[in-house]
Symmetry: C2
Subunit: 225 residues, 2 copies
């Protein structure tokens, strides 16, 4: 018993897949990238997963050192340093998968948090700031902290600590700006984005996000002759 399926190949890629290629594992990592979550949070934010699989995955991921369970109550699951180091893998998967993201298909579930995570691969670098996004959606609000470092963007779902800029508005306004390429000044139908804080940072944030590389060749893609 308890012998897991593995490739038995002396290769980093195969070793990695031994640990993360089971179904749901990388999506759990994705969701935990926004911050620690409770079991029930993951159940609702991972549409389609079943309780037995979530429990099993969290157990093996904890055993492998990818996530740590902080005893509660309530118990929370968080990425360890090892699990967080999967971020480049997840980001590159998202970059590649963006080619197929023209439209939501019927039956697709949508989560604003996933869109926030996709900003990681669009950040062009060169900014240093802490920004908070407040997405208003039917009756609620979700707050994301964006920490821009020189070559990396951190995104967490939580209140930002001492943000230099707060951008607030309905979800549709953020979508229009970030994913449909509308200038923030022309978001009439979707409602407007309001900002509070340093206008210089606001300008820089708009510049810092590259285009959504829908189907286009990715910036780092290999040219294949």
């Amino acid at each position: 018993m308890n012998k897991r399926r593995c490739y038995d190949q002396f290769c980093g890629i195969a070793r990695a897949l031994d640990l993360v290629s089971e179904r749901w594992t990388l999506l759990i990592v994705r969701n935990l990238m926004l911050g620690p979550r409770r079991y029930s949070d993951l159940m609702t934010e991972l549409p389609g997963i079943t309780t037995n699989l979530l429990a099993a995955r969290l157990k093996t991921m904890e055993g492998d050192g990818l996530v740590a369970r902080t005893d509660g109550p309530p118990a929370r699951y968080a990425l360890t340093a090892l699990g967080a180091a999967l971020e480049p893998v997840v980001v590159e998967l998202g970059r590649w998968g963006a080619k197929f993201m023209d439209q939501p298909r019927r039956g697709d579930t949508v989560n604003p948090g996933w869109g926030m995570l996709s900003l990681k691969r669009r950040y062009r670098g060169g900014l240093r700031a802490v920004v908070e996004f407040r997405l208003q959606l039917n009756g609620g609000e979700r707050r994301f902290e964006l920490v821009f470092e020189n070559h990396h963007l951190h995104v967490k779902e939580r209140e930002a600590v001492r943000p230099q800029l707060v951008v607030a508005g309905p979800l549709e306004a953020f979508q229009g700006w970030l994913f449909k390429g509308l200038p923030p000044g022309e978001l009439h139908r979707a409602g407007k984005l309001t900002t509070e804080g340093d206008p210089v940072v606001w300008e820089a944030v708009q510049v810092a996000f590259g285009p959504n590389d829908w189907k286009g060749a990715s910036a780092r893609a290999t040219a294949s002759p």
Copy 2:
């Protein structure tokens, strides 16, 4: 019939996993990254796969546009541009998996080609050259073409076209140099590496490969507080 298992989430990561998360798929991509292969080549170079699964994977991957089958004889499978665009995903998986590559475990199969591919993530950039590596191993020789561009290293298993440098030696000598950090001048037990061509390029190649980031924090890793 023919409805594949998918996550039904409007998220690039989930979309990508819908296409490549089945078992063996990314390892087929890995092996094809070295160049086109025949069915029987893949069978021998993917230890553990069974013929029914290889046939099934190649069929769905061809249907998804990841690989193209060139009618033979002999028929060959090659990555399409879409499939080749998975390279960053595979490379980042290998970077993460390198943390677990201290030693081959018993039962592990080893393939020098996988080691050559791992050089992609270790290339520090800044070089422009075409180099050929000739790995001598029990009774045979395998030749790899390394094309160094400013920010990217191409690796194919084939004779290099007009290489400025040829490095030849037993497999163990390459392993000692590239994976055990021995200076090429001190490879006495493993046999020596001989070079032919531009000595300036040879110097630059030795500098161009960063350390094998065994367990260490990767250069681009996210620092997690």
